[in-house]
Structure formats: C-alpha cells, structure tokens
C-alpha cells in the first residue's frame, strides 16, 4: 500500500508538472463544452429576415407582428420590390424573406386561402430548414387563432410535440457527447501516453526489474486518471446544469456509477493501446484515429446512427461511446432508472471486462 501511494504521488507530479497534459485535462473539457454549448448550435435565435408585403392589410400586419414578437426572428428590413429579394440575400443581411401576396386579406376571406412565400437562404441548409419550420408553425398558429374566432371549418392538422427536449436545444444533445469525448480522451489517450512514456524513457524496464508487481505498476499509473476523469465528469455536469440549464431528471448516483463504468472501459482501451505501441507518438495516433474519430463520427453524437448505412450501423455497436451516450441521455433528459438502461449498461460492462482482461493479458510482464 505504501508503495502504491508513492507510485500514485509520482504520477501526480508527472501530470501537474506537464503544462500540456494539464491543459488537455482541465482546459479541454471547459473549452469544448462552452464551444459546443454556445458556438456550435442548431437553434436559431434572432435571425434577421426581410418582409416583402404586397398587400399591407390587417392580416399581414398581424402576422408580421407575431413573427417579430417571437424571439427567433427580428425583422431587419421591409422591401418593396421582388427584385430586391436577391439583393438582400446577396448582401447577406437576411437569412429569409417573407413574401406576402397581393390582396392577402381579400383572398383569405374570399377564397379561404392566401399565400405567403418563405424564401430562405439555403447555403446553410440546416438553418434554412429550421427557419421554414419555425415560420410555418407561427403561421399555423395564427391560422388557428383566426379559425377559432370564425368557428366554422374543421381543420385537422398534425400537432407535433417534441418531448424531453421541447425547445430543441442542441446543447442537450451535445453535453452527453462532449462528456463522452472528454472521458475517452482523458482516460484512454492520457493513460496510453503515460504508460508508453515510461517505456520510451526506459523507466518501465527499471520498474519491472524492481520488486514492485507489474500489475501494481499499471494500477498505479491508471489510478490518477480515474480520479481526474471523475473530476472532469463533475465539471462537465455542473457546467451543463448551471450554464446551459441542462435538465438532470434522473439519479445523480446512477449517472456517477455509469460514468465510472465508462471511464473503466476507456482506461482498459488505453492500456490496450499502450501494449501495442512503443512510442508516445504511436499511442497518441492510435488513440486519436482509433478512438476519437469513431466516438465523434459513429457514436450517434453528431450523426444519427439510424441514418447511417447498414455496415456503419453495425460497426457502431462495438463502440462503447454509443452505449454510454444512450445511457447519459436516458438519465439526464428522460430521468430513467436502471430498469430502462440495464441492457446498455450490461453491454458496456461486458466490453469493459473484455478489454480489461485482454489488456492485462497483453501487458507484457516480461519485456522481451
């Protein structure tokens, strides 16, 4: 035990004296979560739009008021001619133009139908899509209010309701993903690098010649990173709850246990990587290419798994991150208990045990 404490102390010296690893450990999570939370977002807020109102009557004015009252849009300018539409788009001042037809009110009363054209700048297709949806829903809302007053027609329209993330806040989607990436990075990459560093320096040889047990060497090297990963997970959860108002529906204890399970699986991957790489650089490359890329691309964090081609969907199953993200979303957003995520937990547990067993087996007790 005394040896173990000495070993862990030494490991903490390594970590705290290396500015680069310190930055990766503590700067990265904060930077990433803030980046994903604030900068990279699917939501729209205060999007500038222009209005081309050929009708200028009571109805169009009401609709315009409704739109400008919403926090999603701000009406940037009113234009008079069709030919101006392209001009405002080209200047990049607005993302969308609403084009009300001539005699809007008259048509509405006479034909029970009037048209407003939503022209969006589709150089950014996602935003264009979102804008169209938002405007449509405002229009629909207005239409329903009108119909209520008149009380005649039965309009059966679908009424979508998004649950668990009703405001479609993208930060809810990113937090579990970023947490997964950070834990993977810290646990797998940092441990594999720190173990291979000892190999590179030749100190691993000295340690193996000493009476200290090889298994203790590995546990001693991994232990600080378990601790730091937990600290990181806490920082991320706290940041996301207090800065991004991310809901925390489920049990914190369950979240903590599941996180520790994931950290262990990442650590075992880190050890596994260190057994096959001779230098720190190799370890880093393998971690980045072999772990980070799949986590980002195939875990369902950014790209939905269901829309991937079948082979990729199958591959995604062997990525621990995929299961962890499902678990995280379940606990944080849906507030589910273990009875709903036991399957994912079991899969993650199986992967962890498998990787740990494999890495312990592969870890060469005797340097050949």
């Amino acid at each position: 035990m005394k040896r173990f404490i000495g070993f862990v102390t030494k490991e903490f010296y390594h970590i705290f004296r290396d500015r680069r690893s310190l930055f990766i450990l503590f700067g990265m999570p904060i930077v990433q979560i803030l980046l994903f939370g604030f900068a990279i977002t699917n939501e729209i807020n205060n999007v500038n739009i222009a209005i081309l109102d050929h009708s200028k009557d009571a109805n169009t004015q009401e609709i315009i008021n409704k739109i400008s009252a919403s926090k999603y849009f701000s009406i940037n300018q009113l234009i008079e001619r069709e030919s101006d539409i392209e001009a405002v788009f080209k200047k990049g001042q607005v993302k969308a133009v609403l084009n009300f037809e001539k005699d809007f009110s008259k048509n509405l009363i006479k034909n029970r139908q009037a048209t407003v054209q939503i022209i969006t700048d589709a150089t950014d297709p996602n935003t264009a899509n979102t804008i169209t949806n938002y405007v449509s829903s405002i229009l629909q809302n207005y239409q329903m209010e009108q119909n209520k007053a008149v009380k005649i027609n039965y309009v059966i329209g679908p009424q979508p309701r998004m649950v668990y993330n009703a405001e479609l806040k993208s930060v809810y989607m990113f937090v579990p993903g970023v947490m997964t990436i950070i834990l993977m990075l810290v646990s797998a990459m940092m441990t594999s690098i720190s173990i291979t560093r000892e190999k590179e320096l030749g100190t691993m040889e000295i340690l193996l010649v000493s009476p200290i047990k090889p298994l203790l060497v590995i546990i001693g090297k991994v232990f600080p990173y378990i601790f730091l990963s937990i600290v990181n997970a806490i920082v991320i959860v706290v940041l996301s709850i207090f800065i991004f108002k991310m809901p925390m529906q489920g049990s914190l204890i369950l979240l903590a246990l599941e996180s520790i399970l994931f950290i262990l699986s990442a650590l075992s991957l880190g050890i596994l990587i260190s057994t096959v790489s001779a230098t720190q650089q190799t370890a880093m490359m393998i971690s980045l290419m072999g772990l980070m890329l799949p986590v980002i691309l195939l875990s369902g964090f950014i790209f939905p798994i269901s829309s991937m081609p079948l082979p990729l969907q199958i591959i995604s199953n062997i990525i621990p991150a995929k299961w962890f993200i499902i678990i995280l979303k379940g606990i944080m957003l849906k507030g589910v208990g273990i009875q709903f995520i036991w399957k994912e937990t079991l899969i993650l547990l199986g992967m962890t045990v498998f990787c740990l067993a494999l890495s312990v087996k592969k870890y060469k007790i005797r340097l050949e």
Partner: protein
C-alpha cells in the same frame, strides 16, 4: 569461509523461435567481484542480462542469482539486485530528492531509511545544492552517477550495469568507475557490460561473448597472455573476428 558465488549460470540458453540468442553460457561470478560482460552488438549480452535479472525466462539451462533460481524465484532475485540501464532511467520531471524517494519506496524502504539514504547519497555525490532541482536540468554525468546511486539504494547484493557509460565524457567515466570500485570494496558484486575496452581493463574478470556463446573468460591479464595481445582491444578484435 570459502568465497561464495553470487551468480552461477549453467548452460543458460534463450531461443527466439529458431534463433538462438544465448547459447548455453556457463560462468560464475564471485561475491564482491567486478565482472565485465563484453560482446559486440547483437552478441546476446542484453538477452543474457534480462534472464539474470528475472524479466526474461530462459529456454533451458539453469542459473542462480544471489542464491535464487531464475526460473522459480524471480521475485526474490529482484529484491536483491540493482539495475541500471544505458538510458540512466530517472524521471526528468521529478526532482533529485523525489526520484530518490520514489525508487526507495519502490524497493520498500521505510520512510526513515529513505531519509537517511537520501542525505547520505546527496552528500556522497555532492548534489545537496541541486536536491530540489528537476533531474532533467542536470548534466548527463550527474544523472548517470545519481542513477547508479539509486540502483544501489536498497543495498543490493549484485548490481547489473548495462552499458552505464555510454555518451559520457572520459573524466566522468573515470569518476564513475571510482564509484564502482567503492561499491565493490563494500562487498557489492558488479556485473557490467561495456563497449569501452579500456574499461574492460578495470574489471577483475572479463567474459567475451560472440554469437551467443562465451568464447573467453578470465582476468584481463591472462586473456592478454592467452591471445598474445597488448591490450583488451586486440583481444576483443581477435575473438570477434573469429
């Protein structure tokens, strides 16, 4: 009391697939002796050492180090030997003191013993002033001496030195050998590999390995007589060229 052998190797062999890295070497090393283990690169020196220090299992043969069997008692061997590799492996980002404390701890020394040892060691090496400096900032020669002292921290019976003087200037090498002599005079057995033939002259006895076999083993003086050579360099060249 008869002089005891601290290392006894008998037909020690290591094969990697079809390749025989170490071919049935037999020798013994006496207590307190400075034993030079020479050979060209690839002759099998490092493999032989690894078997003796308990991190590589021999394919066949037998060997006892500090009275323990290399096959079955590797853990006991590890407690009784010190090892210093050609990389002078200390932690660059730890201070001199922290390195000593760490390695002392690894060998299970008590806190008070570590304190004692640290003081003694720093005084011996004249490193008191830099005790709180990172090892990375020290010159190579100092690192090497520190590394040797650290290998001796648990008072091992035998210390294995694998090319300990690589890349070090002649004056520091000289000083280093003085440290070796001092350790040897205190009863520690020294098992050293080197590329420098002048260093071979400093050894009590020298073995020369060629292609996995020990081709010669005697005192430097007798070896020179046997091969009609003026110095160890010629002895080595005659043997290595076959």
């Amino acid at each position: 009391m008869k002089i005891t052998n601290v290392i006894e190797a008998n037909g020690l062999t290591k094969m990697f697939g079809d390749f025989t890295a170490v071919n049935a070497i037999t020798f013994e090393v006496k207590k307190g002796e400075i034993f030079g283990f020479l050979g060209a690169n690839g002759a099998g020196k490092t493999t032989a050492i690894k078997m003796l220090i308990g991190i590589s299992i021999p394919t066949s043969g037998a060997a006892k180090v500090a009275g323990y069997d290399v096959f079955t008692q590797a853990e006991d061997i590890k407690k009784n030997i010190g090892y210093m590799s050609q990389k002078f492996a200390l932690y660059d980002d730890l201070t001199v003191k922290e390195n000593i404390t760490f390695f002392g701890g690894i060998y299970g020394l008590s806190k008070s013993r570590i304190k004692e040892k640290t003081k003694e060691l720093l005084e011996d090496l004249g490193l008191e002033d830099v005790a709180s400096q990172l090892v990375g900032s020290l010159p190579l020669g100092w690192k090497q001496k520190l590394s040797f002292s650290v290998a001796l921290i648990h008072d091992p019976k035998i210390v294995f030195l694998d090319e300990p003087t690589g890349g070090v200037d002649p004056i520091t090498r000289r000083q280093f050998w003085e440290m070796i002599y001092r350790a040897s005079s205190q009863g520690t057995t020294i098992f050293v590999t080197t590329h420098y033939m002048d260093e071979a002259e400093y050894c009590d006895r020298v073995s020369i390995m060629v292609n996995g076999k020990i081709e010669a083993l005697d005192t430097p003086k007798k070896l020179k007589e046997q091969f009609h050579a003026d110095n160890m360099n010629d002895v080595f060249l005659k043997l290595a060229r076959g």
